[in-house]
Amino acid sequence: MNFDLTEERQMLQDTLRRYLRDKYTTSVRNEIIDSDTGLSDSIWAELAELGVLGALFTEEQGGFGGAGFDIAVVFEELGRAGVVEPVLDSVLMGGRLLAAAGKSDMVEEVIAGALHLAVAHGEPGGRYDLDHVHTQADGDTLTGRKAVVMNAEAADHLIVSARDGDAIGLYLVAQGAPGLTIQGYPLLAGGRAAEVTLDKTPATPLGLTLADYEAVNTLALVAISAEALGAMETATALTKDYLMTRKQFGRPIGTFQALAHRMSDLLIELEQVRSAVINAAGNLEAHDRDLHLSATKNLIGRAGRLVAEEAIQMHGGIAMTQEYELAHIAKRIIMADHRFGDTDYHLERFIALSAA
């Protein structure tokens, strides 16, 4: 056993943290959130340049990382800074699916920041179930509806799951293809998604199955968990600072026992979350991988709610205002529960896998 980051990952973490601290300020982010596209092209280009996108791929795939801990390091930092750019969906999920399909040219473009992707899998009424796919593949066209598709508007291509008879396969659909309708909307925690309808829309089979999607979904679980960890680090740090700065009766409110003890509880939960993310990232190759992933996501759902709610509560009114950093971070934490299965979904899965 060994709990140290490799030198490369340590460097990646330092670089990314410094970059985001300097460039991705609250006001910059608020402008991005309010913009029509919901993302910044220049930030995107710089993330590519810093090697952040490449770190999400193996050397074989044209990157220089791609393991669980590479993903964890990147997303923890993105989470810490409350980054709204769709690295998770466009690069990690989209890119790794294309890599699995052997589309190395496109992967190269993704890593260079030159190609945007969207993964259109979930459908209305499907909640978090991975096999709820009613979109139909008929020869080389798709017909159906996809729900809350992240980054659909900005994507050059959509990777769409569809059913051909009993089999679920993945298909590539170009932006602007006939019969493709994208109705976009902003998200509560920043960024944009869309309802996507396909009506006999031309599509290219990627030769991938639901199992390939599931494999990438496990990476996404590590990513969203690490992102939530990063956001919780910021939430606790902001709260700690606030308690040490804000005074009542002439002393910092953090010296009042009730708040001090509740702050301690948040820090304890943060340690738990940190360990949970390590368990997820470090067990991607283990035989009981899914058990670890569900354990992690469940714990993060519970701890995340506690941290977000307590951070707001201990701040008081200021945290209720949109312009304050914590407001955004708290929304990122809570909304992470709505991706790739929520607290109860993973509790059930953990129970089922434990019994198996």
């Binding site: 179930d129 909307y185 509560l188 008081g316």
Partner: protein, 399 residues
């Protein structure tokens, strides 16, 4: 003890249900049900309908044009109105200022202001909180200096709910800076159209423009707008707070919210079954419902005790804490219920997009409400303040 309604109470319930069925405008109820924002005209319309029936000022004495309902009647209204998706009655004039004027206002003030609250001539807001003062009203800094037949007011109020709609504000202001903190405070009625009053919106974390900052720069206020005696404002404020707290359990709103959660969870499917049948989700729903049932009984006990002349300070604080926790838990269940559709940012601005998302429209902006209702445990005396009060009353000292 008897937990059942009397025949009179049951008759009242029937009457109320008929009234809500016949008189509550469908477009307003739809907005409330789907969690969309009510505009000023919606709220004024509903107030006018209630007022026409004599049911707007439910806790006011008949002498002032009120309905003078009993505690149980008010409870029944609370539950039935929420179940019918009626808007909440805007409390500032009716529940807050009204009782203060009735108890401490001059005859002239009562004659002038009370009818204007009922007929909607004035929209009141509350000027209590100040930046940096948190829930600690005694440390407020907004100053009013007497100058002939008027006061000159300078300072800033914050967290002023619905201040953007108001033409009048009742304020706590410091009229004597030299005395102990809680003394030297006066209760002043200020016309928001006066020169020097500026309202700036504060956008809350869910994007809603619900609260405001109100700035006063050399604002002239006629002395006849002083309520009661100069420097006695703290007494009136305390009276108001006690009054305000009655019914803070939010039983009606919790019941309606829980019913909405159940509707959502019946419509959602998980593993081929309605979500409401999922044991984990059902357990969450059941536990909060069980807590709510007990809280509703506490609410009734406390309200009847208050009606019998008991001072409900301690119990009101308990109710506020438990009531806010229950409502927030219900909000949390609602966001869980809708799954990935909790993520879209639903507001008037993206109504067009919402039309694309039928499931989402049914859901309403549940995640936004979840964040917005974090305020329940922060505004109006945070739960920490309430716990401090409970400790102080029961143990003395403790804070």
């Amino acid at each position: 003890m008897d937990l059942s309604y009397t025949p009179e109470e049951l008759a009242f319930q029937d009457e109320l249900r008929a009234f809500l069925r016949d008189e509550l405008p469908g477009d307003i109820a739809d907005k409330v049900r789907s969690g969309r924002e009510l505009d000023k005209a919606d709220m004024e319309r509903w107030h006018a309908i209630l007022n026409a029936r004599g049911w707007l000022a439910q806790n006011w004495p008949r002498a002032f044009g009120g309905a003078e309902w009993s505690a149980v009647q008010r409870h029944i209204y609370d539950v039935e109105a929420a179940a019918a998706h009626a808007p909440r009655i805007v409390p500032f004039g009716l529940s807050m200022l009204g009782p203060v004027l009735q108890k401490f206002g001059s005859k002239e003030q009562q004659d002038h202001w009370l009818p204007r609250i009922l007929d909607g001539s004035d929209w009141w807001c509350q000027g209590y909180s100040e930046p940096g003062a948190g829930s600690d009203l005694a440390s407020l800094k907004t100053k009013a200096v007497r100058d002939g037949d008027h006061y000159v007011v300078n300072g800033q109020k914050t967290w002023t709910t619905l201040g953007q709609h108001a033409n009048m504000i009742f304020c706590l202001v410091r009229t004597d800076p030299d005395v102990k903190q809680q003394e030297g405070i006066s209760f002043l009625l200020i016309d928001m159209d006066s020169p020097g009053v500026e309202v700036r919106p504060i956008i809350l974390l869910d994007g809603s423009p619900e609260v405001n900052e109100v700035w006063f720069t050399d604002v002239k206020v006629p002395v006849e707008n002083l309520v009661g005696e100069e420097n006695k404002g703290w007494t009136y404020a305390k009276y108001l707070l006690t009054h305000e707290r009655t019914g803070l359990g939010g039983v009606g709103s919790s019941q309606a919210g829980l019913a909405a959660v159940k509707r959502l969870a019946r419509a959602e499917n998980h593993n081929g079954k309605p979500l409401i049948q999922n044991p984990h989700f059902a357990a969450r729903v059941a536990q909060v419902e069980i807590d709510m049932r007990a809280m509703a009984t506490s609410n009734l006990r406390i309200v009847s005790q208050a009606a019998a002349g008991g001072a409900p300070g301690l119990e009101a604080s308990m109710l506020k804490v438990k009531g806010s926790i229950i409502r927030q838990e219900i909000n949390d269940l609602a966001r869980r219920a809708v799954g990935p559709y909790a993520m879209p940012f639903a507001s008037e601005a993206v109504e067009g997009a919402n039309d694309m998302i039928p499931d989402r429209l049914e859901a309403g902006p549940v995640a936004a409400q979840y964040f917005n209702n974090r305020k329940l445990s922060i505004f109006g005396g945070s739960n920490e303040i309430q716990r401090g009060i409970i400790a102080k009353v029961t143990m003395g000292g403790g804070a």
